[in-house]
């Protein structure tokens, strides 16, 4: 009887080494090539180009984007989306960035039934509540211009469920955090202290499993809106 814990690691790895016909290397193997091709990082688009690219790529995936330069326009933009989807309830991160943009207040002004994600509440209860609202609203930490993706890092305030369970996701993104490629976001990470989850969201939840017929929102949100502060 083997116990399947870390203890049989040695045996497992020895077998690999013997197949490869050498002892396991003691230090990181040297190599000359890693990562994407060199030309990939050569081009440096301007902030404006990055914004245009981001919006074009996201919209191709049905994501609605709106650039806001005046803080006073946030409410009317979100209000427009809310009435478009006829939402009544909303869940929002209780995060300093969203508060600074007055998002919780705006939700209340719009007459929405607002829940704040509370990481000190009961787990099961909070997740259930999140699954029962019409919209989840979050901050997005980065944008990826060449794919129209947004990156969200998890932490106690930045819940994973809020961008996943409700049928609609609204994200707030700062214009200057839109970077050319996914790799540019990787370089911003602290590898000694990674978030438990780093999620790239590229458009709504989708499937083509039934006769290659595209359908949105099979498990995650069917609609995604991105408000870009710039």
């Amino acid at each position: 009887m083997i116990t399947y814990t870390d203890s049989n690691e040695e045996h497992f790895l020895e077998k690999l080494a013997s197949k490869l016909g050498r002892p396991t290397p003691g230090k990181i193997p040297t190599r000359h090539i890693s990562g994407p091709p060199d030309f990939w990082t050569k081009t440096q688009p301007s902030q404006d180009e990055l914004l245009q690219q981001f919006i074009a790529n996201a919209e191709r995936l049905t994501v609605k984007c709106q650039l806001i330069s005046n803080k006073n326009d946030i409410q009317s933009t979100i209000g427009g989306w809310i009435s478009e989807i006829k939402a009544k309830s909303i869940i929002c991160w209780d995060s300093p960035e969203l508060k600074q943009a007055s998002i919780p207040d705006i939700c209340q002004n719009l007459g929405l039934n607002l829940t704040l994600w509370n990481h000190q509440a009961d787990r099961r209860e909070m997740i259930r509540q999140c699954a029962n609202v019409d919209v989840g609203i979050t901050w997005a930490d980065y944008g990826v211009a060449n794919t129209g993706s947004m990156a969200i890092l998890s932490n106690p305030v930045q819940s994973r469920a809020v961008s996943l369970l409700p049928p609609v996701h609204i994200a707030i993104l700062k214009r200057e955090t839109i970077l050319p490629h996914m790799g540019d976001i990787f370089t911003k990470l602290d590898y000694t202290d990674l978030p438990s989850s780093l999620t790239f969201i590229t458009g709504p939840s989708r499937t083509s499993d039934i006769e290659m017929d595209l359908a949105l929102g099979v498990h995650g949100p069917a609609k995604v809106f991105i408000l870009i502060l710039g």
Partner: protein, 475 residues
Amino acid sequence: MTTLMNENFKKRIKFALHNKSMREAIKKATTILKNNRLKAAEEMGDWDEWRQRGKDIRSHVIANLDYYLKQFADNVRAKGGKVYYAGQAEDVIQVVMEIVNQHQAKTVAKSKSMISEEVHLNKALYDRGIEAIETDLAEYIIQLAEEPPSHIIVPAIHKNRNEIADLFSKEAGKEISSDTPSLNAFARKTLREKFLTADIGLTGCNFAIAETGSIVLVSNEGNGRMVSTLPKVHIVLMGMERIVPNFSDLEAVLNLLPRSATGQKYTSYTSIISGPSHPGELDGPEEMHVIIVDNGRTNLLGEKDFQEALRCIRCGACFNVCPVYRQIGGHAYGSVYGGPIGAVITPLLNNDLKNWGELPYASSLCAACSEACPVMIPLHELLVKLRYRRFKAGYTSSMEHMAFKVFRHYFGNPRRYRFAMKSGYYLQRPLMRGNHLEGGPTPLSGWTNSRYFPAVAQKPFRQRWDEIQKGSEER
């Protein structure tokens, strides 16, 4: 060529060839996927340079797999995850059961994992009274149909909407209409409840990052995120070769995988998960268990030719361009992995050329698979090498040996060759239809009944060559 294949494989192929709706569906899907891939590659600059990077990164990992696995495992443990090593299928089941029992779990919600197909995990759990629910829409469909996947990326490619509606109606206990929105709504509602109540979430692993102990999941539906976010326990089934050294390498392979699979830039969700939830986080798993699985992969390691197949990133691009797969679909292969890559790795993973050695013949050796492969696995060459291995192992039929002996006898000597051509010209007459042959005795009929076999010319080219040369000199 009947003598090359065993009866079961032949039967499965015949069965598939008579399934017209399945073949239509496969042709449609693979054509869409193939065209999407070509379009997605176009905008990436020099696509072959990307493929070369994919090849270099993955080759380097495989050549140093023991080092990187150790590094990966150490980093998973440093982040609070647990690591297990499973040599064979039974080991995987035992580890999963240990975790299940520890938590007295009743239900396991799964996102797509090919390893779980390899080890027949669902059946094993079911036999032990545990409910395992597939949550990828296609996997859910074929779980209800009690069928294996027929394509690595679109597993229910062979099912049409009416069949799906029947399955869902049976499950719902009421009629579900066959339009896409109704089918999707039923799946969303049913599976949502499973996500919320499952005791354990189980996922595969698209990539694992050695430097940080992170695992990477790509999914379009979001079920991968659900099962790695909502249940308190997350089990990861990981093929031992899934590693990339660092985040920079991850960017390279992530630009290859979705583009090659479906033609998307990225899938809707790419999750990079590093250990269980941090203190204070309310969602996400409290425990993370990573099971590193061999299950025959070491058979390819250290094999100069076949080690290359371990580079595979499971995109399915080779399926979509394969003229054989496009005709017979995935089930005809009879193996967990079909298509060109399946024909290569199945006999090797199982270390069994006797029962699986026929799969490498399910190829026309046109090399479209090798050309499509984002990590440049020379699939068609490996198929030939496997055929040779099967021949060496003595599994080819005596009929085939005889045929090649005869061939060598006549084609190895000019006089005998001339004689054979001359007699061939007369002997072929009863079979001639215009300028090609039809029917005849086996094994000849194995070719003439389904393919074009040109008749031997009255005046062979050798003779005409002299005249042609003369003619050109005169000019």
